[in-house]
Symmetry: C2
Amino acid sequence: MATEQSGEDAGIQLRDRIAALGAEAFHDASVRISQHAVVTPLLDTPAIDGRRIRLKCENLQATGSFKIRCAANVIEQLSPETLRRGVVTASAGNFAPALAIAGAPHGMRLICHIPEKSAAVKVAKLRALGVELVFHDFEAWWRIMQTRDTGMPEATFLHPVCEPNGIVGNGTIAIELADEWPEIDTVIVPFGGGGLVSGIATAMRAVRAGVKVYACEIEGAAPLAAAFAAGHPVTVDRQPNFASGPGRQSVLEIMWPLLREMLAGVITVTDAEARKAFRDLTLDSHLVVEAQSAIAYAAARSADHSGRNVAAVLSGGNIDRDALVAALAD
Amino acid sequence: MATEQSGEDAGIQLRDRIAALGAEAFHDASVRISQHAVVTPLLDTPAIDGRRIRLKCENLQATGSFKIRCAANVIEQLSPETLRRGVVTASAGNFAPALAIAGAPHGMRLICHIPEKSAAVKVAKLRALGVELVFHDFEAWWRIMQTRDTGMPEATFLHPVCEPNGIVGNGTIAIELADEWPEIDTVIVPFGGGGLVSGIATAMRAVRAGVKVYACEIEGAAPLAAAFAAGHPVTVDRQPNFASGPGRQSVLEIMWPLLREMLAGVITVTDAEARKAFRDLTLDSHLVVEAQSAIAYAAARSADHSGRNVAAVLSGGNIDRDALVAALAD
């Protein structure tokens, strides 16, 4: 109970800190990350039912994911002393490689706590980038995600989801969208931990108030929809689906106040809609994406956005060959 | 012999007409095609041996191919009377759909002569675009490509490779490359019929003389390398390979004088190099491409370009699912 309380307090603090930022904070971040992150393409797709849908292609970052924006904006604001002592994170995905790449010019030491069942290709990639790995079972790993306690007090812990400077780095996507598409009125963003969608929503409010920013999830693995329905984070059982295996999921307490305030809502798509979107992204738009990104495109096509100008954020493209081939199967 | 002679004469005429164009002809074309073609992304890849390689992503055109540049620049210069009488072409690939899309706003009738063994997915796509199809065996179809004689004198024949306005349309890629990458010194372009590489080479000579433009081919299916070796087009047997099945191939007589004058040379890659490049484009760069495009990336990586700034032109992404899955197999 004490932990939950402090999670909520921390969440209110985080929300207030992020919500106070003006447009210049996000513009500054765009400049700060520009040596690591590119301005990603915004590609048109066939119009549907009077709506226009464009794809914001974070899968075309050199690192294959939006996370380089987040990592670069964090790393570039660390002191030389902090960089010297090193950085520790808990990441099963794209955050650790992005930190390694952004930290490399500084000679930064990076330790990553990782679930022991992580894909071999991910482990090999982290090792090739010089990351020191510490393996945990999933429960212990998830506890680090919740408590930030790695037992390594000398190194600075960076959280893959809720670092304020990381959330601001993610918001640079909104700056680009507003620049590239003046008529944009809707943005749909995959929901992982909430750092991406809350960054985009907060930045959009600062530079183009009125643009609606939605998270999206897949049926049977929708902790954010459950949180909105209950009015607070609840744990849901995750059914195996196109985007991920079984498990348990909840929205991080610390992210909830920010998400509740900033998002226009959450859109849930079916497994079949996500699979069709993945296939069309591959064969019609010629983009390789992670399954999460297909959920965003599916949500842009399936939900009621008639007459609107909708950007679907393709958050990343780091999918291995077998998963790609499997996702293209009938 | 008479046909070959006239092919060579026509080739010299074509070369002289294209070679006389200045930069403004290509800049005008860029404006002319802008409602149909986008300025495609130029993406970085990991540096190799001190060379930088960037990918010019024509696979990210809405039509999935550079051919929309070619088609739009041709169609937009036809008279209302010509558009009313209709257009006929011989195409087994991306040219006919691009003509259909560029012609649609004009209500243009389009007839396409097509090899009878064309992939069902291509035939269905053309029918969906309202194209009238005439089927031929491969020999008869290739004769139309050489003679332009379709037995339909009332409709204007547009050749997929050697329309002067089409070649100029392809040259708009060079305009974008020169704008986007001032330090560019080398461009590598897949060789199909020669319209793409000669357009880029001619435009580059006009706007940035000194940039070397190479064609590329795959071992065992290299009619351009054979033409450079012999000093004139020769017919070669095509071995089945990663990019295409068996057959016979030669450089079109009409294209040879232009190619000989404009190109820095031709680079040949192995089947294994092309397969590796395809896989890396898919899994590291997150781009779906046609096999030909992987040859360009392979050539940029394999040939001796140390210290150079090399753009590989990814000509298109229209590959069907089975071919994509097969190309990713070990």
